[in-house]
């Protein structure tokens, strides 16, 4: 209750209420996330259930067009699945993969960044060079390599089962240096402050000083890059799926939906690509707008008046 009151009077909420872009972005984001979580409940069809899919319904245009069927509001894809339901399920996968990958990135990145910044010297140089090497490979290249190796080693059938955790792993591993660099930079700034010295004088162990005293002070930049990284991870996943290296067609994410529709775009079935595309753009855009707002709030030096 007291926490709530504190939150209600905070500058955070105040600046949120004054920023119309932030409010709209937040509402849209919340809606999308709720839709994706509740997809099994609210989606009119279950795109994973092959028994309900009729190939005769394939490539049906949205319901308001000629030949449209009121059963399929946004039309159907090439396999006769309801596009709206498939999109909702796809968004769900994209959000899951995005958040999972960012979680993994954050764990690896914060740990390495903290060790690197606090220890300094040779340890720091070594870890940061590893980060540089990692960053010099693009995410796509790492992902293509790993998924190609995996598909060869375990077969495509197994790959389809393990696609989600595998994508989380790939995107997570490819982007941890972003976190490591951000955390390291903040730790370098914080570790020479007097409260760290004071904690040492008090006799606290360096482990405790690192995780309990320095870490919370480095959290605001981490929070900001987390939002942007979720958007990035969703984009990476979509890009991989578009290239046919992400989610399989049987369980399409937004990226693989866009891809599967792309082949039919010139035969007139534009809706299969367009609607998932719009959904993806809106989702990534609102996350980025919220991230921008968060950065402004958490960094008073960038005060815009």
């Amino acid at each position: 209750m007291k926490q709530w009151k504190r939150f209600k009077n905070s500058y955070f909420l105040h600046s949120f209420k004054r920023d119309r872009v932030a409010i709209v972005s937040f509402v849209v984001l919340l809606t999308l996330i709720l839709l994706s979580i509740l997809a099994p409940v609210i989606a009119p069809h279950n795109p994973y259930d092959t028994t309900t899919i009729d190939i005769m319904n394939a490539e049906m245009p949205p319901s308001w067009m000629e030949d449209g069927n009121p059963d399929f509001v946004l039309g159907t894809d090439i396999q006769g699945r309801d596009l709206l339901s498939t999109m909702l399920y796809g968004l769900r996968l994209s959000v899951m993969i995005g958040c999972g990958a960012v979680f993994l990135q954050a764990i690896i990145g914060i740990f390495i960044g903290m060790i690197s910044g606090y220890a300094g010297g040779k340890v720091d140089a070594f870890l940061m060079r590893i980060a540089d090497v990692q960053l010099s490979f693009s995410t796509l290249m790492v992902a293509i390599m790993i998924s190609a190796i995996f598909q060869v080693a375990f077969g495509v059938g197994r790959y389809e089962q393990l696609a989600v955790p595998l994508l989380v792993l790939i995107i997570g591993l490819a982007e941890w240096p972003q976190y490591a660099r951000t955390v390291r930079a903040s730790v370098l700034g914080e570790k020479n402050k007097e409260y760290v010295e004071a904690a040492r004088v008090i006799g606290l162990s360096s482990k405790r000083i690192r995780w309990r005293h320095i870490l919370p002070n480095t959290m605001s930049p981490v929070l900001v890059i987390s939002t942007i990284q979720v958007a990035n991870a969703v984009m990476s996943e979509a890009a991989l799926s578009f290239l046919g290296l992400g989610m399989p067609v049987t369980k399409p994410s937004l990226g693989s939906l866009i891809n599967s529709g792309f082949e039919y775009i010139f035969s007139g079935s534009w809706w299969i690509t367009l609607f998932p595309g719009i959904l993806l753009v809106v989702f990534v855009l609102v996350i980025n707008l919220l991230g921008d707002w968060l950065r402004d709030v958490l960094n008073p030096k960038l005060y815009k008046g």
Partner: protein, 333 residues
């Protein structure tokens, strides 16, 4: 026998690319239980480095290159990091200059106090909070129960420093090292904090090393004074002796530099020149380039800290006889 703290020939060096710099050169002093000592000197004299080397926390590239720090019979310079952690914050605690900086901005006061206690004692959170409340009351923080839940930015500067004092005294240490505890505060709060510190040290029987450049503060609080210059103690003795009857020309200069308000508008008596940089400490007595009464011997030979004939204090000066005349002249003037 059995001093609380005995610092013997302490030598601290800083390893730099061009070679080792000697920051502390053979500092010795003793402190008994519940005794209060003032370490006085200009900026860069090595006061703070002495303080930090007592708890063996000199930051790199500095290191203790010689001498010993005997605390309750143990040589702290030889203890392992683990052993030292048991002493820091538990038996010896330290108060810093700027209370704005020494409290962690993202943790509540209560968390920081409980953490300190739990680092050294095997007690529950509830017990730790009770001890914290009691200490907050001792430093006159009103409604401590409420204050425990608050963050450092919700306190004024003077209150924060009182909280820092409370944290320093949490574990009932035998020795508190206060490194310019009032420099960042305004004058009225300074007096309040000093009074509080004095009162608590007296009632708890805590030893105090007060590091400051403010002779007025030292004269009110401490029983002994050691005056430092360029990494050495140049004069040491009982507070009243040093203040009323300084022997070393540097101490005399410091005391003359205190504004006494007798001649408003007149220039203050300052010591000419500045403290030498550690890179080129002059040969012989390091004070001789600024000294009014230097002789030939001062240029070649470094004076030792020795008892002065007819006085209780000790001073490191070749020209003590001249200094005495100087002091006499000042008194008649």
């Amino acid at each position: 026998m059995d001093h609380l703290l005995e610092v013997k020939d302490l030598e601290v060096k800083f390893a730099l690319r061009m070679g080792d710099l000697t920051a502390i050169n053979g500092v010795s002093f003793t402190l008994d239980r519940s005794e209060r000592l003032g370490l006085v000197g200009e900026s860069g004299a090595g006061k703070s480095v002495t303080g930090f080397s007592i708890i063996n926390l000199i930051s790199k590239p500095g290191y203790i290159s010689g001498g010993s720090v005997i605390f309750e019979g143990r040589d702290l310079t030889r203890l392992t990091n683990e052993g030292m952690r048991h002493i820091r914050g538990n038996l010896i605690s330290m108060i810093f200059q700027d209370p704005m900086m020494t409290l962690n901005p993202v943790l509540t006061i209560g968390t920081q106090m409980v953490e300190t206690l739990q680092a050294h004692m095997d007690i529950s959170r509830k017990e730790a909070e009770d001890i914290s409340l009691e200490k907050l009351r001792k430093v006159h923080i009103p409604s401590p129960e409420k204050r425990l839940q608050q963050y450092p930015h919700e306190f004024s500067g003077g209150m924060r420093q009182r909280i820092v004092v409370a944290i320093a005294l949490l574990t009932d240490p035998a020795l508190v090292i206060a490194d310019e505890p009032t420099t960042a505060l305004d004058v009225t709060i300074q007096a309040e904090i000093m009074e509080l510190l004095l009162e608590l040290c007296e009632s708890e029987g805590t030893g105090l090393i007060l590091i400051t450049h403010d002779l007025a503060v030292v004269s009110q609080v401490t029983q002994k004074i050691a005056v430092m210059y360029a990494g050495k103690i140049v004069e040491a003795g009982q507070t009243e002796d040093i203040i009323d009857n300084p022997r070393h020309p540097y101490t005399q200069g410091l005391i003359k530099a205190i504004p006494d308000g007798r001649n408003p508008g007149a220039r203050l008596n300052q010591i000419p020149g500045t403290m030498p940089s550690l890179i080129d400490i002059p040969p012989g007595c390091s004070f001789h380039p600024r000294c009014m009464i230097r002789g030939d011997i001062c240029r070649h030979e470094s004076p030792a800290l020795k008892n002065i004939h007819g006085y209780r204090s000790m001073a490191a000066c070749h020209m003590l006889d001249t200094a005495e005349k100087q002091a006499g002249a000042n008194v008649t003037k």
